[in-house]
Assembly symmetry: C2
Homo-oligomer: 281 residues x 2
């Protein structure tokens, strides 16, 4: 089994999710010219032996790079996390952290489509503006400008939070715990604020889980793969109907990789960070 492919890369070290075109293949399931998504190397041409992790992409007037974001793992994480873990009900109060990211932006839009009230947090005023004016969030705020996150949440959710889609951890999670409503749900997707810390911050206020009878559940999209075909159908449908928007931050050329990667840690990117290595033939 030999498959040589090239194309777009999502932002990971050494290996990453990419959308690629098959250059040559001795696997009968893949032929030159096919477009596939899956794990590839950070390089212009990749030799892939583990072909079972590849998905064929059917070009359908959606930008191919969306298959590493909106229509790939991040989008599916949002979809599975929101519908399967958060168990949302119409009219509920939803808070999303890292809301302009590849996952958060879709969670917020799905919540709006579901009839929820949605507030997002992000780390720049540009992102806050996008959340409110382009992605349809009811409200958004810049957490870096809030000296008291508990007070900020009480301002946006005077009635409390039913659903928290957790992407950041740390002080934000502590503040959210103080503001959950009875029988609320916290879907734990990530805790990016703790990623580069060797001694992660301890979370106080967990006793609120008892007093408010909150369910806090970690999840990975890979547990829900049976829903992937329905996810693609639903999200491509919403996108084509103009019901959802997708923000990505595209850099051109493999050589732009290091600076784009470093930019993730300072909030430089707006939306899903992708690198375009080559265009399809």
């Amino acid at each position: 089994m030999l498959l040589i492919i090239d194309f777009f890369w999502e932002f990971k070290v050494v290996e990453g999710f990419g959308v690629s075109q098959v250059v040559d293949s001795d696997n009968p399931n893949f032929k030159p010219g096919d477009i596939v998504s899956g794990l590839t190397g950070w390089e212009e041409y990749t030799l892939i032996y583990k072909t079972e992790q590849l998905r064929k992409v059917q070009p359908d007037n959606v930008p191919l790079s969306y298959y590493v974001g909106l229509l790939g793992m991040p989008g599916f994480t949002a979809y599975a996390g929101f519908y399967e873990v958060c168990a949302p009900k119409k009219g509920e109060y939803v808070f999303v952290s890292a809301a302009s990211g590849a996952v958060g932006q879709l969670v917020g839009q799905l919540a709006k489509l579901h009839g929820c009230f949605v507030v997002g947090s992000a780390g720049t005023s540009q992102k806050v503006d996008l959340l409110k004016n382009k992605l349809g969030f009811d409200e958004a705020f810049n957490y870096k400008e809030e000296p008291d996150l508990d007070a900020a949440l009480k301002r946006y959710f005077p009635q409390g939070i039913d659903i928290y889609f957790e992407n950041v951890g740390g002080a934000m999670l502590e503040a959210v715990l103080l503001n959950m409503r009875i029988h609320g749900r916290i879907a734990v997707c990530g805790m990016v604020s703790q990623n580069s810390i060797s001694d992660p911050q301890g979370i106080r206020n967990l006793f609120a889980l008892v007093t408010k009878r909150v369910r806090m559940q970690g999840f990975l999209q890979s547990d829900y793969l049976h829903l992937f075909p329905k996810f693609l159908e639903d999200i491509i449908g919403y996108y084509k109907q103009g019901k959802i928007t997708y923000l990505e931050d595209m850099n051109e050329g493999l050589e732009s990789g290091p600076s784009a990667f470093a930019g993730l840690f300072t909030g430089k990117n707006v939306g899903k960070q992708v690198i375009c290595v080559a265009k399809p033939q």
Copy 2:
């Protein structure tokens, strides 16, 4: 509505759960001689206006004091938490902290009846001995003698923990998070280690919720009251068949209250602490 009652008290300040006998009543639902359980004052005779919180007790060869423990709120907490929150499966690995307490001792026994492997922690060697030799736990350990709780859990659960019934919080919860199995469940009943601390300890290792896809859920028995009749039927049945044992620590006389209360904080009591104020007429 007037109801004067006396009897057993569970251990709480000012008000507490008690089993009492009606001395006099102008409420047609209660007549002198009736036995009731519910909130009463710490006193020999109590005047109760809120009669809707009282339950009538049908004497059936079970000690009356059990209605503030095994057959009262603590027992029902164990029952609802284990069956409804932990969603146990036969053969799963279950860990219970504060395992000799009124709640923990029943959780462990229900888990054994359900076909699980059960380990409990407690704070004295006497309690550890009771867990292993009287309550039927597979294993038990004294957390005060374990300098490394993570290592202790790895010793008792080399394959990891499917269900953690959380009563203590703090360092034990942090260690448990490192030892959960994929798709494990943590039922958060209490965090007694943090009760008297003004600045509760932060819990690290929460990211394990994501990597292990763990559900951590706080609960209160009051959300499950529709199950109370079935609970009484099941537990009285198990008790009469000798399938479960119940440990209580009975002190005689209202004047024994303060020392028994203080003893809770040093682990002096073994099993449910109750005070016998008077015997039924």
